[in-house]
Symmetry: C2
Subunit: 251 residues, 2 copies
Amino acid sequence: MQQYFIKGPAQSPVTVEDKDTLKHMFSVLRLLEGDQVLLVFDDGIKRLARVLDREAHQFELLEELDDWLELPLQVTIASGFPKGDKLEFISQKATELGAHKIWAFPADWSVVKWDRKKLLKKADKLSKIALGAAEQSKRNLIPEIELFEQKTDFLSRLGDFDCVLVAYEESAKAGETKSLVQRVQQLEAGQKVLFIFGPEGGLSPAEIETFENLGAQTVGLGPRILRTETAPLYALSAISVLKELLVSDKA
Amino acid sequence: MQQYFIKGPAQSPVTVEDKDTLKHMFSVLRLLEGDQVLLVFDDGIKRLARVLDREAHQFELLEELDDWLELPLQVTIASGFPKGDKLEFISQKATELGAHKIWAFPADWSVVKWDRKKLLKKADKLSKIALGAAEQSKRNLIPEIELFEQKTDFLSRLGDFDCVLVAYEESAKAGETKSLVQRVQQLEAGQKVLFIFGPEGGLSPAEIETFENLGAQTVGLGPRILRTETAPLYALSAISVLKELLVSDKA
């Protein structure tokens, strides 16, 4: 069933205001009175709703569903600004794979230089991509997008996390394979993880040192060398395997 | 160091013949006599080589390296024909993530209809993408691409594998989380796995039944609904975590 995110607290009846959402509901899906959809408000709970009045864009909430598909850890992905539209790609795929937030920062070896205006425009585009991917993958939350103009602002936020991991190509090359598993297995449900990825050229030795001085740990992502836009997908999949598949008693 | 795949058995000196490879070596990288690269012949062993004669495109092999970055399981990805250029995307990313072979087949709910001519052209394009991704990710092997015109030909190959897994959205929705881990953990190094993925609309119930009758098992890929092009990346990452990170004593 089609799912839509609606800003604000849950209320019934609710009038949908967002233009893109309305367009999809009534022009693409062509909802009629009585048709049902899932509405997800700020609390992340999915609620079955039906169209009360299609002219007034009004829905009645019918019942709360109990499915919660969020990763047990709150994982923030932070990519050094990559070239072209790779952040668009990362935003879509990281959302599908359960990222809690998606950040990017100007890394030493980032080739692109994005000013404030460009970053605002880009963040707006990425937010829309994350919204679409969150609806499609049936997430309870839409990942927040934050693009840092200054690396110092990014660095000042590392202390907000229970664990900071840095994907490091040299770890992969050195055959380092245990750190990721060990650190992730130590974390408990609800804890916050920041996972940092370099741009195409990787992270500079100075950056690695800065991150380590701020408490971060470098980890390998298996033996193969992954592109900058592929590494976050491996990392999120790995966290899902370790925290959702290996620990579950559901099935 | 730059890596190139060279067809044929290892020999020294070796004359490189492939035009695209030569162009990259001498026009892009501008190799000079004495410069070193990695050459990988049909046996998958990486060999350090140096330019003997740049006019004659001749290299001398110096030594064998012992790094072997292939997944311990031989994983073949088989996607129901997806729309647009998603197979290009899957070929690049699945190669980075260690796929042994990349297949695609006309699934019941595939929207695209590709005839023999189109499939030959597409396979050629995908092979080039896989080659580039294999070099970039430092693979020992280039995944073979095979696009099936007839589903029956695809089905007749299921018996070649030690294990056939089917990514099934309904498994994810039902909260099924253990089958993937259980099946992958049972497999031993060198065994062959076929991992089947549906197109955008998913696999039809009839297809699922056919696969199951041929010995396949449906598995979930975590609780979130993944797009057709994202599911193979999760699956390969999961196999890497289970077979490379969790079992290793290297680090």
